[in-house]
């Protein structure tokens, strides 16, 4: 019952967030220099008359309140509008881009959680060992490595070298998993590594610190003195409590993740939402921008909801209210 009320409250506040974000994106667009879109469509040499015509065609001459009214009306009916540049439906663009971005994010997330938490737990249980020192240097290297540099280095060092020597599994671009799962993974493996590295570094560091603190608690000493095996002490007693700050970091990091997605998609020309949003922003393609921004905000809201639920599962003291 309490959970149902929690869910409803969160959904309502999520809708408010989405509305605020869409409004912000809409207003930001009108801060742009005028006529950018019309000029893009009609060419540099266009006469003022042509520009007027294009603006009229796209409804850009209407007062901002009227335009916003149209926008809201369509939005309520589940229609995100049409791209200014080629008239393609934004819904179609999203349907086409979403699988690409989802493939990237899901794979990278698995990778960074496994590597990040694994390295973190190993470093904490062997604090100040050789492994821990090497891991610390590796973690700092990972944090210092800009995503786009790592992507480019993987392209030149792995993709290019492998393909030169006739090993063509690792590929650039995107191929859907419907044709072959193996081919899909071959296209995604370098982007996964690229996107996951920074987060894996951050998470291994967080989980190491958190687990070290937890291992110093009295109840861990109690567990040890009961004669439990070290493995049981670490995994049953310590890890669960140590994971709570890591999980809450997950909610905060969603924004950073989206930035990483933009860069990774651009480097590997995956053609997902990240790459297309850069293009839409540069071109001033308002309907596409707003569609993407709403999608991103939805992602942030849902991710935070999931994080809160996981948090309450990990730590029974936390109540969902």
């Amino acid at each position: 019952m309490a959970f149902g009320r929690f869910l409803i409250r969160r959904l309502l506040s999520g809708i408010v967030v989405l509305w605020v974000v869409s409004l912000a994106a809409f207003l930001l667009f009108f801060a742009r220099p005028h006529n950018t879109v019309a000029r893009e469509l009609a060419g540099r040499a266009a006469t003022p008359q042509t520009l007027q015509l294009v603006n009229k065609e796209l409804g850009l001459n209407d007062p901002i309140t009227v335009q916003y009214g149209h926008f809201l009306d369509r939005l309520v009916h589940g229609d995100l509008g049409y791209s200014f540049l080629d008239g393609e439906s934004v819904n179609t663009i999203i349907a086409q881009d979403l699988p690409r971005t989802a493939s990237l994010v899901a794979g990278a997330m698995v990778l960074w959680l496994v590597v990040g938490l694994g390295v973190g737990i190993l470093s904490a249980t062997r604090a100040r060992s050789l492994f821990d020192r090497l891991a610390t240097i590796g973690v700092l290297g990972g944090i210092s490595m800009p995503t786009f540099v790592l992507g480019q280095l993987l392209l030149i060092g792995v993709f290019l070298q492998l393909n030169r020597h006739g090993f063509t599994w690792v590929q650039n671009g995107y191929e859907g998993p419907s044709q072959s799962i193996i081919g899909w993974a071959g296209h995604m493996i370098l982007p996964w590594i690229t996107l996951a590295t920074v987060s894996a570094a951050v998470y291994s560091r967080l989980s190491r610190g958190s687990l070290l603190d937890t291992l110093g608690e009295d109840y861990i000493r109690t567990a040890r003195s009961k004669g439990l095996s070290e493995r049981r002490v670490v995994f049953k007693h310590a890890v669960r409590a140590a994971l709570t700050p890591v999980v809450s970091q997950l909610g905060i990091d969603v924004g950073t993740l989206l930035g990483g997605v933009v860069v990774t998609e651009s480097v590997f020309s995956i053609g997902g939402i990240g790459q297309d949003s850069v293009q839409a922003i540069v071109q001033g393609n308002l309907p596409v921008i707003i569609g993407f921004v709403l999608l991103a905000a939805l992602f942030v809201v849902v991710a935070n909801l999931i994080v809160d639920i996981v948090y309450s599962l990990l730590d029974p003291r936390v109540r969902l209210v």
């Binding site: 742009r32 210092s144 540099v149 030149i156 905060i252 924004g255 930035g259 922003i281």
Partner: protein
């Protein structure tokens, strides 16, 4: 004769007491930092990078190659491909036949400038807002804390791109955008610290003798925050450098022909299969600089943490234990350290 005097006499009778030098927190920190070879090496690397950046015009004169000067005859091969590292062009050239070494040096000026200036702005703003939010509490804190959370949770690369397009990409816009997304992390830590420090007795006593809130914040609370803020600021510099490079890489930061590590790397993207140096050298410059700042920040953090000394001590003790009793290592040793 009081008891203390007796003790004092007893001590002096036992011989000259070894003088115990009073050491301030900062001197203790500095001593610990000097023992951290990694941090010292990083500091030296940073000094070298800064020196090279400052000396960029000198190297431009030495090589005779301006940062934006094209050398279509000597800098490009017959097929129009960039030439590799050699006697004439130390680190090779780019696709327009410009000297990569000189451009990387000029790029370092941009990167370091952006890193330091944005960090300075973000630190001042972050500390100010965090102090006010934490000290005053109430609705001021609620509003500011929500704002901090919102900035932290926002997909900042996307918004930075949008802002860069709206305002037109330029150096001041890049600095402003990066600073705007950098202060919130500092603010959050400062706010948390202020919340706990303002409950201390000495703050209460300052208030009771009539000190104004501003005086308490600046004189009583701020000095206690310097340590974490120094660490955060050091770690914020590499983040800002990477942020600038990313914006420039996506074409929305420093605009060519002005050299920046980000836009050099963006240019390199199309030539990675014919000119490895074009990608590798600017990437190395970027990586070495950010890594050095991160290692230094990490070293300062460790040096400021009094627990570090104990960890080192526990470590040595454990090793000694293991050496004397090689059969009974493992679980017991770890338990000792964790309990220490």
């Amino acid at each position: 004769m009081s008891v203390t005097e007796l003790e004092f006499q007893a001590q002096s009778a036992a011989g000259p007491v070894q003088a115990i030098e009073g050491r301030s927190q900062w001197r203790l920190t500095w001593r610990r930092l000097l023992h951290d070879r990694m941090a010292i090496a990083s500091g030296i690397v940073i000094v070298i990078v800064v020196g090279l950046a400052l000396a960029a015009p000198l190297f431009a004169r030495l090589t005779g190659h301006g940062p934006n000067q094209l050398f279509p005859n000597t800098g490009l091969s017959v097929n129009g491909i960039p030439v590799g590292p050699g006697h004439n062009f130390w680190l090779g050239t780019d696709e327009q036949g410009r000297d990569l070494f000189v451009r990387i040096l000029y790029g370092a000026r941009i990167s370091l400038f952006v890193g330091v200036v944005t960090t300075a702005i973000a630190t001042v703003a972050g500390v100010g807002i965090g102090l006010v939010a934490g000290y005053f509490g109430g609705w001021i804190d609620t509003v500011l804390a929500r704002f901090i959370d919102a900035v932290l949770a926002f997909p900042y690369v996307v918004l930075a791109l949008a802002l860069a397009v709206v305002l037109g990409p330029s150096l001041p816009v890049v600095v402003g955008v990066i600073a705007f997304f950098s202060w919130a992390g500092i603010s959050r830590i400062v706010r948390g610290q202020t919340l706990s420090i303002k409950e201390r007795e000495y703050v209460e006593s300052a208030r009771s003798i009539g000190a104004s809130p501003w005086r308490i914040m600046v004189i009583d609370i701020l000095p206690n925050l310097l340590a974490p803020v120094l660490v955060l600021a050091t770690l914020s510099i590499p983040t800002a450098i990477v942020f600038e490079a990313t914006l420039s890489y996506l074409g929305l930061g420093i605009q060519p022909p002005t050299a920046s590590w980000g836009n050099i790397l963006a240019g390199a993207q199309n030539y990675y299969n014919v000119a490895w140096w074009y990608l590798i050298f600017p990437a190395l410059a970027l990586l070495i600089t950010t890594l050095a700042f991160n290692l230094l920040g990490d070293g300062i953090r460790d040096a400021m943490d009094p627990r570090t000394e104990r960890l080192f001590a526990a470590d040595t003790a454990r090793r000694r234990l293991r050496r004397s009793k090689p059969a009974k290592a493992g679980g017991a040793g770890t338990a000792d350290v964790a309990g220490a």
